[in-house]
């Protein structure tokens, strides 16, 4: 974990799949968070893990010195209580580091069995008294993502001055959202999806209809508001990398990267960038120029445009996405799958299933065990001959310095502006 004079900064990455989890670990995450089954806020969206995976997740991450956090953060009904207890019991048995919860029943139960607990942002913690209350149960609190930076700093200062400790006896740690999607609702407490499509966001089934474009019409007069942008409920994504120094100056310990529904290459890029930025901060080498370079790198993966500042810097209204979907500067084009890897020669064989590849193309190789690997082959061979171009149904081979696996998918990464 990046540290200086005892100051630790934890990069916490999303893991919606094995590929994303391994990508996070390889990219330098200090912790990963994930859900199993139905009681998590990505029950519908992401490829969730199964409860049977907990042991393997804990084992793999512990070996790599990465903490594991299981989200049990939906609202819970009476009929969920038995399952909630089973899931948390199994997490403890499997060696998962902590539970992230928001419903008081899950908070109470996790605490009662002596398991480490983190309070989810769904609890909307916005002041020091709320922190003191939750410190009775939890060692980490995620603050409301709508808090201005000064209020975050005041809370961090008060925790030290008033010696507010969690069940472990250590000072309560403060976690904030550092990067990723924001939604129009306060702390994610949204009823739009259930009101319009009977699909509850608070049960992990958000339909994201706030991301659509809308018109605003006065039904009495029929007048339509003239809007610069029809995406009036879809904020840009949060990006703090240009002012991460200010975030860290406030005293927060954990930087949460949003994106359990995102693919492994997103997790890889975002984790690497924030890890590098945190290390630069601790080394006294954080600069605006680096911030710009990191932003450019973050733009290569999914984003709705960046709200540089978020609520933290009290930006004015108007940071709406203006787009449905991503503004990423790159796109990935499926090429095929790895059909063999020659370990000694470090050569991968790829069967091209669609599209064509040219020498010099940047390739992304991804799979559940491989995670994410980028390679730009210096030579592509087809039938033992070096070629500059290959097409569908060709079986090509090229050097890949790290091991990849059969059935890993291979994509070409292209800049959108090259189209």
């Amino acid at each position: 974990m990046p540290s200086l004079n005892g100051r630790m900064i934890e990069i916490m990455s999303p893991a919606g799949s094995w590929a994303a989890l391994r990508a996070a670990v390889n990219a330098g995450a200090n912790s990963v968070y994930f859900g199993v089954g139905q009681l998590n806020m990505r029950a519908k969206g992401a490829v969730n893990f199964d409860i049977k995976d907990l042991e393997e997740i804990a084992s793999y991450c512990t070996k790599n010195d990465v903490k594991t956090y299981l989200t049990v953060n939906t609202i819970l009904y009476n009929h969920d209580i038995t399952l909630m207890k089973q899931v948390i019991d199994e997490a403890k048995r499997a060696g998962i580091t902590a539970i992230i919860a928001s419903d008081l029943s899950a908070i109470q139960y996790t605490h009662s069995i002596g398991m480490e607990l983190h309070i989810s942002t769904q609890c909307n913690i916005s002041n020091i008294e709320a922190v003191k209350f939750f410190a009775n149960f939890a060692d980490v609190v995620v603050l409301a993502r709508e808090l201005p930076l000064q209020q975050i700093a005041d809370i961090c200062t008060a925790i030290k001055e008033e010696n507010i400790t969690g069940p472990s006896g250590k000072l309560v740690q403060v976690e904030v959202f550092a990067h990723g999607a924001l939604c129009v609702a306060i702390s994610g407490k949204c009823y739009m999806s259930i009101a319009t499509e009977n699909s509850s966001a608070n049960r992990g089934a958000c339909r994201q209809n706030c991301r659509h474009s809308y018109k605003v019409i006065d039904q009495e007069t029929g007048d339509e508001l003239v809007l610069e942008n029809e995406y009036i409920m879809s904020p840009k994504d949060l990006c703090t990398v240009t002012f991460l120094d200010k975030i860290l100056d406030s005293g927060v310990s954990v930087l949460k990267l949003e994106g359990r529904g995102r693919p492994a290459e997103y997790v890889d890029t975002v984790t690497r960038v924030y890890r590098e930025a945190a290390e630069a901060y601790l080394a006294g080498e954080f600069t605006k120029e680096k911030g710009q370079a990191w932003t450019t790198e973050l733009e290569t993966v999914f984003n709705r445009g960046f709200w540089q500042g978020g609520y933290y810097l009290g930006k004015k209204l108007g940071e709406w996405s203006g787009v449905y979907g991503s503004k990423t500067t790159t796109k990935k084009i499926l090429l095929g799958r790895i059909s063999h890897y020659f370990v000694k020669a470090q050569v991968a064989e790829c069967t091209i299933e669609t599209n064509e590849v040219d020498l010099g193309d940047k390739l992304l190789i991804t799979g559940p065990t491989t995670g994410v690997l980028y390679v730009t082959p210096e030579e592509i061979r087809l039938d033992d001959t070096a070629v500059k171009h290959a097409k569908k149904e060709d079986v090509i081979s090229f050097v890949v310095p790290e091991r990849v696996r059969k059935t890993d998918k291979v994509y070409i990464i292209k800049n959108k502006e090259d189209d």
Partner: protein, 82 residues
């Protein structure tokens, strides 16, 4: 005979079906998932033969399900809820 199949794997336990068809569906307190009250249930799914007159209420429950777990089939074997 018509029938209804409830796919338990995808159920997220939101209980919407029990609101729309309270006599036909209930929540299983052990799994947190919905079940067909009169149905034959395994870990994966519940099955129930229904009369033609019951198709509407099950279709309503199916349409309320955000995860499309409920599938109603008419006497011709075709899915009504597709």
């Amino acid at each position: 005979m018509s029938k209804v199949i409830l796919d338990k794997n995808n159920c997220i336990g939101c209980a919407a079906c029990t609101i729309y068809a309270p006599d036909q569906y209930e929540m299983d307190n052990n799994t947190g998932k919905a079940i067909l009250t009169q149905g034959k249930c395994t870990e994966e799914q519940c099955n129930l033969a229904i009369s033609e007159g019951e198709i509407d209420i099950h279709t309503e429950a199916a349409q309320s399900c955000p995860m499309s777990c409920i599938h109603v089939f008419g006497t011709d074997g075709k899915e009504v809820t597709e």
